[in-house]
């Protein structure tokens, strides 16, 4: 049976609710439409059910399991929706023992997916760049593989608690907006003409940063492979200090 939801975590927990309530075996469901999906279920994002489910899960499984479940959901692997459901059903059944099932395929994969997400979100705490706009917002465009905005936003709330800022994930069309000390996260249509909005000083500090970056490198020890290991190519386009160097390589 084909299960359709709106892609949000709210919707996802509603789907989980539906599956548990109707005692549907995870082997019978799919989150991808294909020829054999005779039955198709459309799930609403009911906020009451979402709240009920989150407190139910919090009560029933360990923090670690919950953490893995959520991170797996945020990952970009094709089968992550089904995998996280399978995992949480297993965790509900064996809440204490699940973390020792290191040899179980479901657990192994959930570990892998959730690690990937944690790693990428930690990486973005560093490689995210803000630009100052004329309206005094600090604006950042990122292109992560996974849905990391919900994971990194709090770090920046603490770090820039007195500023207004926006983090925009272009790959997933999601944004975190922090304005007047309020944080909201959601899907978004687009941000247009940001370059047009840049504060004049902005260019200056970007120049300073580029100069600094260039000046501290030790030419005799140039090691591009090492650098790319740490800073994969696909992230470069938003990194001010190397963005335009792409063509040089």
């Amino acid at each position: 049976m084909y299960i359709e939801y709106d892609g949000s975590f709210e919707g996802y927990l509603n789907a989980l609710y539906y599956i548990l309530k109707n005692k549907i075996s995870p082997n019978k469901i799919s989150f991808k439409k294909n020829l054999f999906n005779i039955e198709s279920i459309k799930i609403n994002s009911n906020i009451k059910i979402f709240n009920y489910m989150s407190s139910y899960l919090k009560r029933s499984v360990s923090n670690l399991s919950l953490h893995k479940f959520y991170h797996c959901f945020l990952s970009n692997f094709e089968d992550k929706d089904l995998l996280a459901i399978k995992y949480i059903i297993l965790a509900l059944k064996y809440p204490k023992a699940i973390d020792n099932y290191e040899t179980n395929d479901i657990v192994i994969n959930v570990n892998k997916y959730s690690k990937r997400v944690s790693f990428e979100s930690h990486r973005f705490l560093g490689i995210l760049r803000f630009k100052l706009l004329k309206n005094n917002f600090y604006f950042s465009k990122i292109n992560p593989d996974n849905l990391i905005i919900p994971l990194i936003s709090n770090h920046f709330v603490k770090r820039l608690s007195n500023e207004n800022w926006i983090i925009f994930d272009e790959n997933h069309m999601m944004a975190a907006i922090y304005e007047e000390k309020n944080l909201s996260i959601g899907l978004i249509k687009s941000f247009k003409n940001i370059d047009f909005m840049l504060e004049e000083e902005e260019i200056l500090y970007e120049e300073f940063w580029k100069k600094y970056y260039k000046s501290i490198s030790i030419k005799e020890r140039k090691n591009d492979r090492l650098r790319k290991n740490f800073m994969p190519y696909r992230y470069w386009k938003n990194l001010i200090e190397i963005a335009n160097k792409k063509s040089e390589l």
């Binding site: 930690h122 600090y138 940063w209 000046s215 501290i216 030790i218």
Partner: protein, 414 residues
């Protein structure tokens, strides 16, 4: 001079400095401030040579009235000079920080007028950042040799970490290569910092910690003739007496023509071995005299120091995995602290064999010469330290020794 040129000159002069860590201190955001120094350490970029960029590491000035033989910034060198103003430095830090380029500031300086004035500038930068801008990012300041201890102490209330660089491992070498510095001009501020760190943090006043990430120092290796033993012994003293957090080693790189200096750059491998020996002091409960007993004064560049020690003290082996105590266990080459804990836990359940050791990542290739499981060696092993040494040399041949990320040679030293 425009700011961009200053940045170029003063970043270039600072780039060879070895310590890059911003971890070890966690400063919660004070009300309405910006930033929080985070514990994990965040890399914001990686330079062309693959080093993590976490802090704005820069000199306040590369002018210097001193004339240390090994330093590019020494007075007698004809190079481009620049000095920031306090405001420039503060603005640069704040603006880099808000754009998420950096975790904080690592500020050092040549002695551009006199020690007190220089120290005062560094102090003012930190003070204005913290007080006026409520900056909560990481700040590492160098304590300028010869500056008034009171001034250094005042700076300590705003810095997360401070360092006094000793540079040369003996007073004699200091006299020859850095004649304007003296042992006491370095040790006095170090000592007073360490006393203040102990004293002032006892009361644990919130948001008013004194140098919460402790102090560190740096030694140049190979600019002067001191032995590895002498260097490690000095580090041991610094860890014990002054409670230093880290000693950084830096292989000498010749940037000045000067007949007081050796002709060659010092080897990075030697530097690497010293870091490993330092590691043995800090985490494996070794004493300097133990690592170098039996008349050795230099480490073997081809062996890691633990192996070096074990082969020199072969009469202490083999140790029986199922019976020996913890401190003995961690001294076995190929067994780290982590695997030693695992062995200890496992031992309660069962008697351990070689397969078990493999599973918990003991490096049997190394360990096998030094251990028995239930009285038996792993295979027919060599039992002569000289032969073992030859075998290991042979194995290592062609294997490049991985170098630490942060142990680059020093050209300019503050």
């Amino acid at each position: 001079m425009i700011l961009k040129d200053k940045i170029k000159i003063l970043a270039e002069s600072a780039k060879y400095d070895v310590s890059c860590s911003s971890s070890g201190s966690s400063r919660a955001n004070s009300k309405n401030g910006i930033g929080n120094a985070s514990i994990g350490g965040i890399c914001h970029s990686w330079s062309e040579d693959g080093r993590c960029i976490s802090l704005l590491k820069i000199l306040f000035s590369n002018n210097c009235i001193f004339d240390c033989a090994y330093c590019i910034n020494r007075r007698s060198n004809d190079i481009e000079r620049a000095t920031f103003t306090v405001d420039e430095m503060v603005n640069l830090t704040i603006n880099f920080y808000k754009r998420n380029y950096i975790e904080g500031l690592f500020l050092s300086s040549g002695i551009y007028s006199n020690p007190n004035e220089t120290m005062n500038s560094l102090y003012m930068v930190a003070k204005i950042l913290r007080e006026k801008y409520k900056f909560n990012g990481y700040i590492h300041l160098k304590a300028i040799p010869g500056a008034d201890p009171l001034l250094i102490k005042k700076a300590g209330f705003y810095a997360d970490r401070m360092s006094v660089n000793i540079e040369l491992p003996s007073e004699k070498s200091l006299k020859i290569l850095a004649p304007q510095k003296s042992k006491s001009s370095l040790l006095v501020p170090m000592k007073s910092l360490s006393e203040n760190i102990l004293d002032l943090n006892r009361f644990n006043v919130k948001n008013h910690k004194f140098v919460p990430a402790g102090q560190s120092t740096q030694l140049i290796v190979g600019a002067s003739p001191e032995s590895d033993y002498k260097i490690i012994k000095l580090s041991e003293n610094l860890y014990d007496k002054f409670k230093l957090k880290r000693v950084y080693y830096s292989a000498f790189l010749k940037v000045n023509e000067d007949n007081r200096l050796p002709n060659k750059n010092s080897s990075l491998l030697r530097e690497h071995r010293l870091y490993q020996a330092d590691w043995l002091l800090r985490f494996y409960k070794f004493k300097a005299y133990e690592i170098f007993n039996k008349g050795n004064y230099f480490l073997d560049e081809k062996l890691d120091p633990k192996l070096f020690w074990a082969l020199n003290n072969f009469d202490l082996f083999p140790v029986e995995i199922n019976r020996c105590d913890f401190d003995t266990l961690i001294r076995v080459p190929g067994i780290g602290v982590k695997s030693a804990y695992k062995i200890f836990n496992m031992r309660r359940e069962k008697s351990i064999n070689f397969d078990d050791l493999k599973k918990i990542n003991v490096v049997l290739k190394r360990a096998k010469y030094f251990i028995t499981c239930n009285g038996r060696y792993m295979d027919f092993s060599l039992k002569d330290p000289d032969k073992i040494k030859q075998a290991i040399y042979l194995e290592n041949k062609g294997n490049l020794i991985p170098l630490f990320q942060d142990n680059l040679p020093v050209i300019s030293i503050r």
